[in-house]
């Protein structure tokens, strides 16, 4: 019981609570602005966390991400522009409801089910993580190798429009991860004589570049036009909450479970969860024909799922040190900086910090209801904020943030290079998320591969020698086969439809 009391003492201080509140407002603001994602909100927050204690730092990121994922629903409903990719799955549906004059119903449902979904994911996190940590204590390099590979596979192939482009993005990330001295052999790779590159590519500026700067470029190129057609009137969002829970309890539970499962998978996050859940909801609906015409069912399921996955994505991050999604990929970087090395030993040596993180998760999801209400009330104002003013200021923040991560101009150079890279990737429909996970997971993969090979004297059999490793390996091979079958089937049906046309 002691660690739990210690956790309460860590969290219930004015400093932490104020930080959480500020982070929540920041997350709501960034999430509610179309084009600015939850990942970007988290990335922009990182430079601020360097100067905080571990608990407020991690708490700020948890709260900010949860709020941003919910807030993404607001412009979805009012503008038909998803605030974050995780809301894109049901953006059309939510907007259709607004046009029918049901803005308060849909936004109310988004607040309510986001909060419940988040709490569900948190509950699973609280109960599953310590149990998994016990198992993870027995893990050695082959198991971590497979886990890392599983994370990479999920990030590139699950939910990707084109597996090939997902793979390209992943390879870019892996390549970036090889730069520098930080490899098992201690050899400088791809540094071309630069001293600064010896330390590798700093992750934080790279993130800021890929997610924030590239978006600034895109918006500025389009002349930062104002958003059109904000649907203003939103009535009482708390209306009929009981009724909604009663009507949609099935969808809600399914969304929670699906979101949590996808979150636990290393490498797949909230946006994948929302897409899959929306599809599942439609598949099992009694009235699939109503989908797309402003029907609440799918929204309930997917908005529950994206917030549930956000919490459960922390399971692989905390237990194995392998990020569950792009947000936890950033968080892992911050955890290392703060001396909370993610992995099973965190549960042994620092249980109070883990409980404090859990507590913050619960607080954040409870805070979502009142703050969400405020955000919805202010949404119209917020969406009238001119982007012509916003974008240059975001760029200024990016520059200072990239500089602040190491206090050198090198960080800004990295940020700029990755900003251009991210811009180019988006132009060519290459997704960005696999690249980020590649950068984070790449070193884990390489280290565990080389370690295993050194232990086994170069025999590949070592990867299947131990029972858990063998199980993970076989599971992964099955995942690959299913991706392959999917691609072949897609191609065949594509050819058939071409043949039909001719």
């Amino acid at each position: 019981m002691d660690p739990i009391i210690a956790a309460f003492e860590l969290v219930m201080t004015w400093q932490v609570l104020t930080t959480l509140l500020m982070a929540a407002l920041f997350g709501l603001l960034v999430g509610a602005i179309p084009g600015l994602t939850a990942t970007m909100a988290t990335a922009l927050l990182v430079p601020l966390t360097f100067f905080m204690d571990p608990i407020p730092a991690v708490g700020a990121m948890v709260t900010c991400a949860a709020m941003a994922i919910f807030a993404g629903d607001i412009p979805s409903a009012l503008l038909r522009m998803p605030g974050t990719p995780a809301s894109a799955a049901y953006s059309d549906e939510a907007y259709a409801m607004t046009r029918k004059g049901q803005a308060e119903t849909v936004l109310g449902a988004c607040v309510l089910f986001s909060a419940i979904g988040g709490l569900f994911g948190t509950a699973v996190l609280i109960f599953a993580a310590p149990a998994l940590a016990e198992i993870a204590l027995n893990f050695s390099s082959p198991e971590y190798f497979w886990m890392a590979l599983l994370g990479l596979t999920c990030s590139a192939f699950i939910g990707a429009a084109s597996p090939l482009k997902g793979a390209v993005s992943l390879l870019i990330g892996l390549f970036v991860a090889t730069i520098g001295l930080n490899n098992p052999a201690g050899v400088p790779r791809f540094t071309f004589g630069s001293t600064e590159m010896m330390a590798g590519i700093d992750f934080i500026p790279a993130m800021i570049g890929l997610f924030a700067v590239s978006e600034v470029f895109r918006t500025i190129a389009a002349g930062a036009p104002p958003w059109e057609g904000v649907q203003g009137k939103v009535g009482n969002i708390f209306r009929n909450w009981g009724g909604m829970v009663k009507t949609y309890w099935r969808q809600q539970i399914r969304g929670n479970v699906m979101g949590t499962l996808i979150g636990i998978l290393p490498g797949a996050g909230a946006d994948v969860a929302a897409y899959v859940s929306y599809a599942v909801s439609r598949r099992f609906s009694r009235t699939p024909e109503k989908f797309g015409t402003g029907h609440l069912e799918g929204i309930v399921e997917s908005t529950s799922a994206n917030n549930a996955s956000l919490s459960s994505a922390w399971i692989p991050a905390l237990v194995f040190g392998i990020p569950g999604d792009t947000i936890t990929a950033i968080v892992i970087g911050v955890l290392y900086v703060k001396g909370m090395n993610p992995g099973p030993t965190l549960f042994l040596f620092n249980p109070q910090t883990i409980y404090a993180v859990f507590l913050i998760f619960i607080l954040a999801n409870l805070l979502m209801v009142p703050l969400g209400w405020v955000a919805i009330k202010l949404a119209k104002r917020l969406l009238q904020a001119p982007r012509t003013v916003l974008m240059p200021i975001i760029l200024a923040f990016c520059i200072v943030g990239a500089f602040g991560s190491n206090n050198t101009a090198y960080g800004i150079i990295v940020m700029l290079v990755f900003g251009v890279l991210g811009f180019f990737m988006e132009e060519n429909d290459i997704p960005i998320a696999p690249c980020i996970l590649g950068i984070v997971i790449g070193p884990i993969l390489e280290r565990n591969f080389i370690t295993t090979m050194i232990k086994s004297d170069g025999s590949i059999v070592a990867f299947f020698d131990r029972p858990i490793a063998a199980g993970l390996g076989v599971f992964l091979i099955l995942v690959w086969l299913s991706v392959l079958v999917g691609v072949i089937r897609q191609r065949r049906s594509g050819q058939m439809s071409e043949a039909d046309q001719t």
Binding site: P47, L48, F50, F51, L164, A167, V168, L171, L174, F175, T178, N183, P184, A185, V187, R189, F190, V213, V216, F217, I220, A221, A222, G223, A224, P386, T388, V389, M391, P392, I393, L395, A396, F397, I399, V400, F403, G404, N407, A409, I412, I413, M415, L416, G419, V420, F423, F424, E427, N428, G442, L445, E446, F449, I450, M453, I454, G458
Partner: protein
């Protein structure tokens, strides 16, 4: 700027080959089969494979131009705007150390605001406010050593 499958495939293939060949120069770990070169070589093979797959896809859809301008880049000034933004960041990298954070950032913000047609007085006011607030948050609260350059220390 949108590369066709053929173009993108060719770029990836060349990159993969170059990376793969360069990786062979990394020294091995003595007595081990897999060393510093193993991982980069695997990535290079991956790049080359993706490149070939894209070339194959490009082969099937012949007649697509190698580099296409996406819809928004055809708007006059769009690419120029991106270029100016990039140059602003470069200018910050080059001059912030000698001239200082506050003047350089204010200038950059004014340039960007004006490019997006924010009226002059608003552009100047917003630029100064945003710079001073950033300076206060990052230098004074978060202790990031933003370069002073020519500027005297702000009173906060």
């Amino acid at each position: 700027m949108r590369f066709s499958d053929t173009m993108l495939g060719a770029v990836l293939l060349v990159f993969g080959l170059a990376g793969g060949i360069y990786s062979q120069s990394f020294p091995a770990i003595p007595g081990q089969r897999y060393g510093a070169a193993a991982f980069p070589t695997a990535i290079a093979i991956g790049f080359a494979a993706c490149g070939l797959a894209m070339l194959a896809a490009g082969w099937r859809s012949a007649g697509v131009p190698l580099i296409m301008r996406t819809e928004w880049t055809r708007k006059p000034g769009a690419l120029l705007a991106v270029l100016v933004t990039i140059l602003c960041v470069v200018a910050y990298i080059l001059f912030a150390r000698t001239i200082g954070f506050i003047p350089v950032m204010t200038l950059i913000l004014i340039v960007l605001f004006r490019m997006l047609h924010v009226p002059w007085w608003k552009a100047i006011a917003y630029a100064i406010c945003a710079t001073l607030v950033t300076d206060y948050i990052f230098r004074s609260i978060l202790l990031v050593p933003l370069p002073f350059g020519l500027m005297p220390r702000m009173p906060w």
